[in-house]
């Protein structure tokens, strides 16, 4: 009886490991889509009344989206007297967004050079392009998820079966 339970647990564990890999791909894709929406939201707010950065970033900082850690970091830094230029602060913040894959982080780092510049319209245009880039990355991530999640599930199941055979 104990052996059967052990085999079931081993199989379930391997399957879960495969599922976890697939779930992480799903999270990456969702984070990229959400980040694209956040960029569009920032562009909308800039177009509406061009608020100062602390006000602009406050909304995203309060949420639990993928950019929330970056916004919270920037909001805290903007209150400091001794701080580096905003571009550096933003890059430090983006590095805290662990839900995002490296290409997303790389793309988002560019926003640090856009936000807070002279022309709100140019900022809006730049954020719009960034949102497009993130959507492209999200589409690639979706494709990868569809392809790889099956691989993860099958690999997890196969490893589980192998373990069951070995235990049997």
């Amino acid at each position: 009886m104990i052996r059967w339970v052990g085999m079931a647990l081993a199989f379930g564990g391997c399957l879960l490991l495969g599922g976890r890999g697939a779930w992480r791909l799903h999270l990456r894709e969702t984070a990229l889509r959400q980040a694209a929406e956040d960029m569009e939201e920032l562009a909308r707010r800039l177009g509406w009344n061009a608020p100062p950065l602390p006000q602009l970033l406050a909304g995203l900082g309060q949420g639990d989206g993928p950019l929330a850690p970056a916004c919270r970091h920037c909001l805290a830094a903007l209150e400091q007297v001794d701080r580096p230029p905003f571009g550096v602060v933003w890059r430090q913040g983006i590095a805290l967004c662990t839900d995002l894959p490296p290409p997303g982080i790389e793309a988002l780092e560019q926003a640090g050079g856009l936000l807070g510049q002279y022309d709100p319209a140019a900022q809006q245009a730049g954020l719009g392009l960034l949102a497009e880039r993130l959507r492209t990355l999200a589409a690639q991530a979706e494709e990868q998820r569809q392809r790889m999640s099956r691989v993860y599930w099958v690999a997890g199941g196969a490893a589980g079966l192998l373990l069951v055979i070995l235990l049997a």
């Binding site: 800039l46 061009a50 608020p51 100062p52 950065l53 602390p54 602009l56 903007l78 007297v81 001794d82 230029p85 905003f86 602060v89 936000l115 807070g116 510049q117 002279y118 022309d119 709100p120 900022q123």
Partner: protein, 302 residues
């Protein structure tokens, strides 16, 4: 706010060593310093009516770099150049507390309008202070038929026009018999609103409109706030004069400031000649500097 505290607040927009140098100045100097001057590749200096002196940190002069000037603007605008664009196009940023950071350098223009600064070469941090008590005795001289007369405050830049206007407004709208004052504070230097609350005392019965062009703002104040006195800082454009003439026709008393040395100086300039011809102001309040001290002189025009 004590004089040195105003200085410390303004110096908060300086980065690293520059701030440390400014804050290391003796309290007596911080109390009387009116401006801090930052010029790329040169020493940071402070000035009062007597002149400019270098700011030293541990015995060494502080040389300003262009990167530091950029950081000053970043700190002053909280990294939001777009939110301070109107002021930047006119070469200044107003800081929390009403302090003003004037800027110079190579500008990028479009259609004859400044889009931004390519390179910064100088910044001038002017410290805003309250001088409570200086307006009370002047108000008694600004009367006509028992009521406050429309008055133009005149002096060259840096002589304290804005400070005097703030004090006159505060005195007028405080205490028994206070008047309702509509304050058109386009640059945010007179009242320095922060989330709607004036950071500098402009009295209990003063309604402040900030950031709005004077032409639009004066009419808005007249229609919406029913002021008895309209106060406006720095008449510099024909639209400002036009708006003042419209407001004067509505029966309110005007308090305004302008750059100039004297009555003759006003008459020479076409912009102010109109004010003169239309008899908008019945008194002229001149600020002079004698031996490092400000002297106030009232002249009747009508």
């Amino acid at each position: 706010m004590e004089d040195w505290k105003a200085f410390d607040q303004a110096a908060g927009c300086l980065p690293g060593a520059l701030r440390l140098g400014a804050l290391a100045l003796p309290e007596q100097v911080r109390s009387r310093c009116e401006e801090l001057h930052l010029r790329a590749g040169r020493q940071m200096t402070w000035s009062d009516p007597a002149g400019e002196q270098p700011v030293m940190l541990r015995g060494n002069p502080l040389t300003v770099g262009e990167e530091e000037l950029r950081l000053v603007v970043e700190l002053a605008t909280r990294s939001s150049l777009h939110a301070a664009l109107e002021g930047l196009r006119q070469g200044y940023v107003t800081l929390s507390g009403g302090h003003r950071l004037g800027l110079c350098g190579q500008v990028a223009t479009e259609g004859g309008q400044i889009r931004g600064f390519r390179h910064l070469s100088s910044a001038d941090l002017r410290i805003a202070r309250q001088r409570q008590g200086i307006g009370a005795h002047l108000l008694s001289q600004l009367q006509k038929n028992g009521a406050l007369a429309s008055t133009l405050i005149l002096s060259p830049p840096g002589f304290g026009k804005t400070t005097l206007l703030r004090e006159l407004v505060r005195t007028l709208s405080t205490g028994a018999g206070a008047l309702r004052v509509g304050l058109m504070d386009q640059r945010g230097e007179v009242a320095a609103l922060c989330q709607g609350v004036p950071q500098l005392d402009v009295g209990h019965c003063t309604d402040v409109l900030e950031g709005c062009p004077k032409g639009v703002g004066l009419m808005l104040l007249l229609r919406g706030m029913n002021p008895q006195v309209l106060a406006v800082d720095e008449i510099t454009a024909p639209e400002d004069v036009e708006a003042l003439m419209q407001a004067a026709g509505c029966g309110v008393t005007l308090l305004a400031t302008a750059h100039g040395w004297s009555r003759e100086d006003l008459l020479r300039r076409p912009l102010y000649r109109t004010l003169w011809q239309e008899k908008l102001f019945s008194h002229l309040l001149l600020i002079r500097m004698e031996g490092g001290q400000r002297q106030y002189q009232v002249e009747r025009l009508l």
